[in-house]
């Protein structure tokens, strides 16, 4: 239990650092934070009024307190572009990001593990070659390039998927709407799976090859256990903790990938919101989107930690870190 508490404490520390960083990132920026919305022709009074509206005329300490309150209450202050609360904008977007990332992560992990184990069992087969190649692709091909190619092939040359957007315009209602949403999600999801399963498969294969050479696997074979059980219950079970570690380490990258994927496919998610906010110098919105993405990462990290405890008996007993 203490191990869990420690992890939880770690996550809280990361979040606090993100919050503080987020606050100061925008305060140490060169120039006036209002540059994005203030026209040089504005009168000084108008400028002052605008500064007052975003609380920029108060002392930094007070600004910080207000900022923390806004962040923790999930209101995130007012957007500089629209003047409405940022959360109202983001609320509709976060589910889209989650709906993209979670299935992508699960699918690519599942596919990667299955292929990796298979490749480890059949060294020198076509499956192994596929794994090695897809691994190289996932480490060296830029995601947006592959996605642009997919978009070109399956949305333009052979238009079976829509070219952009999260839904059709105007949005359809009811069941047709759900189907439409899924149709728009399919290609981004597919592209993410294609891009990331290779890395998984490569890792799993390398670890499985090692695990299959261990004495306890030989022992299990010698005991006459079914092959299935040897592979999954003995060999794979022993590499489960490192697989979870990789899951943990890959999360920030997956969230980063969301920004690019949403941009390529014009999905209405938190990542593209961040890009738009950055481009229009909308500090509160950019800060909020960044905080939410970090929260998503940290939350998933914590979840992976929980699984870790379930999976690794050594951690459960608090013996090893």
């Amino acid at each position: 239990m203490s191990a869990l508490l420690k992890r939880f404490g770690g996550a809280v520390v990361v979040l606090i650092i993100v919050l503080v960083l987020n606050f100061f990132l925008f305060r140490i920026m060169p120039g006036d934070p209002l540059t994005g919305i203030v026209d040089p022709r504005f009168s000084p009074e108008a400028k002052q009024e605008l500064a007052a509206q975003w609380g920029l005329d108060r002392p930094v300490a007070e600004q910080f307190v207000v900022y923390i309150r806004e962040m923790l209450s999930f209101r995130f202050g007012l957007s500089m572009m629209t003047g409405t609360p940022v959360w109202d904008e983001l609320r509709n977007r976060v589910p889209n990001t989650v709906a993209l990332l979670l299935p992508a992560l699960l699918l690519s992990a599942a596919l990667g593990i299955a292929l990796g184990v298979k490749a480890a069992l059949r060294r020198g087969s076509k499956v192994e070659r596929l794994v090695l190649w897809s691994g190289a692709v996932s480490f060296s091909f830029p995601s947006f390039f592959v996605q642009l190619l997919l978009l070109m092939c399956f949305a333009w040359l052979w238009p079976i998927f829509p070219l952009s957007g999260s839904t059709s315009i105007p949005p359809l209602a009811g069941l047709a709407g759900v189907a439409d949403y899924l149709r728009h999600l399919a290609l981004p999801l597919l592209s993410l799976v294609i891009l990331s399963f290779g890395g998984w498969a490569l890792y799993v294969r390398n670890m499985m090859v090692k695990a299959l050479g261990e004495d306890y696997v030989l022992m299990a074979v010698a005991r006459g256990l079914p092959r299935r059980r040897v592979v999954w219950n003995h060999a794979f079970r022993s590499i489960l903790p490192p697989v979870l570690t990789i899951l943990l380490l890959s999360l920030p990258g997956v969230v980063s990938g969301a920004v690019i994927t949403e941009t390529v496919f014009s999905l209405n998610g938190a990542g593209r919101f961040l890009l738009e906010a950055t481009n229009s110098h909308d500090y509160p919105s950019a800060g909020a989107a960044f905080f939410l993405l970090a929260l998503l990462t940290v939350g998933c990290n914590l979840l992976a930690d929980l699984l870790y405890v379930l999976v690794d008996p050594r951690v459960r007993r608090g013996g090893v870190e």
Partner: protein
């Protein structure tokens, strides 16, 4: 060992690296590629579809005045070389360019120069210009035709298989475009008729001739250009591609070097000092590793400015963690090794042990680490550029893909704007990974034939 070295130096990836580095150092000028708009937007690569008209430039210089003047008479913007895609110059005399231009007739005093190379051509341009160019047109009508130059009491005639136009006559500067309505009216063509199609009605033999003295350039812009076509602004994609190599290499290598420096410093400090310093640095590493970096990079790049060196600095700030971890674990294991203990017993100071013994010990792995870190930096830079957060004046590969995406290259079917930069990034990453793997094997021979294969 020597044999081994030769194997590495002859490897595909190393050769590619040398070629790319040479391209980056030389720049596109050496290859005869030029910046700026060259041909109509979204021109296809030259080799793709030979029924489309290429973009060509014909230069006719007329008669007496020029022969007497010096070689500097050719206007500076006039293309002189024959090596730049489908472009032909009046006096080039059948240099085998795509335009298939032949000099048929010159003024009586001008000898035909059919068999001379480009150098002779450059020399010959000022001395003995042709007043007439014949071409064998085998394509669909071009997109655009324009005529610029100066006339000193002359007329420009355009002879078609059937019929003839006098395009311009008189004295003074001319700047005509086939889309100008007054120009069309002057030739007796209806204002809404596509004049390019009127000037090039069919396949066959055409001739542009200048009667009198003057200096005229005719641009015939078709839908084909160069090795890799053009982008949405008509810039040569091959030029941009070669320019992009430089950006990718600079950013990748510089950012990784700086990051490695940070990583080395923090790793040594953390591993050798231990205690609270160690805990602090390692916690910082943990935190940085669990924050999604691209959003942070976006915020930095978007709000701090997008210059190249800003980008390099930002990238290196967020990529030293892996190196720090590696150096730390290495330092930890070496700190208590018997020979280091011996050094300490002999009275060696800390800095001496660190910089004369531990750093050289870590060097081979660090080198491998640098090579393996470059792809990450290149991909991060490309990602930021793709999101539009790079210097718009620097044509990097990420920026090319950004423009391809923003301007909808794939809905124009312009795959030549997507494939070259994308494959370029991938290739350069693969190259560095292979070099890194080889260096790693060198540093730690146990890896050879180990789990990787």
């Amino acid at each position: 060992m020597v044999f081994d070295m030769r194997r590495d130096l002859c490897s595909f990836s190393f050769v590619c690296f040398v070629l790319l580095a040479a391209a980056a150092l030389a720049g596109p000028g050496v290859l005869g590629l030029r910046d700026g708009p060259q041909a109509p937007p979204y021109s296809k690569p030259d080799w793709l579809d030979s029924s489309i008209a290429p973009t060509m430039v014909f230069h006719v210089t007329g008669s007496e005045t020029l022969i007497e003047s010096s070689g500097g008479q050719a206007p500076p913007e006039t293309p002189l070389r024959d090596s730049q895609g489908p472009m032909a110059i009046g006096s080039s005399g059948g240099q085998g360019s795509l335009g298939r231009v032949r000099s048929l007739a010159g003024p009586p005093e001008t000898p035909l120069r059919d068999s001379q190379g480009p150098t002779a051509l450059e020399r010959g341009l000022g001395q003995s210009p042709n007043a007439s160019i014949a071409l064998d047109w085998k394509y669909a009508p071009p997109l655009r035709v324009s005529l610029t130059g100066r006339l000193d009491g002359a007329q420009v005639r355009w002879t078609m298989p059937e019929g003839e136009f006098t395009l311009a006559a008189g004295r003074g500067d001319i700047d005509l475009d086939a889309r100008d309505i007054p120009f069309k009216k002057a030739l007796g063509i209806e204002p809404f008729v596509n004049m390019a199609a009127v000037l090039f009605p069919a396949r066959g033999a055409y001739r542009l001739s200048l009667d009198g003295s003057g200096d005229v350039v005719m641009r015939v812009e078709g839908g084909r250009w160069g090795l890799l076509g053009t982008d949405q602004r008509g810039r040569d994609v091959a030029t941009l591609f070669v320019r992009g190599v430089r950006i990718s290499l600079i950013v990748g290598i510089a950012a990784t070097l700086i990051a490695t420096f940070f990583g080395l410093a923090f790793g040594l400090l953390s591993g050798y000092a231990g205690g609270a310093t160690d805990t602090l640095i390692m916690r910082a590493v943990d935190v940085l590793l669990s924050i999604p970096t691209l959003p942070i990079l976006m915020i930095f790049a978007g709000m701090w400015g997008r210059s190249l060196w800003n980008l390099v600095l930002i990238l290196s700030i967020f990529s030293w963690m892996g190196t720090a971890r590696m150096v730390r674990s290495m330092t930890l294991s070496l700190r208590d090794a018997p020979w280091v203990e011996g050094l300490r017993a002999l009275g060696a100071r800390r800095n001496y042990i660190l910089f004369r013994h531990l750093v050289p010990e870590a060097m081979p792995l660090l080198l491998a680490n640098i090579a393996l870190g470059v792809p990450g930096a290149i991909l991060a830079e490309a990602g930021l550029a793709f999101l539009g957060l790079s210097d718009p004046r620097l044509p990097s590969w990420g920026r090319m893909l950004h423009e391809a995406h923003v301007f909808g290259a794939f809905t124009s079917g312009a795959w030549w704007m997507i494939l070259p930069p994308g494959l370029g990034i991938s290739l350069i990453c693969l190259i560095f990974m292979d070099i890194g793997r080889r260096l790693e094997e060198r540093a730690d021979p146990r890896l050879k034939g180990g789990s990787a294969r």
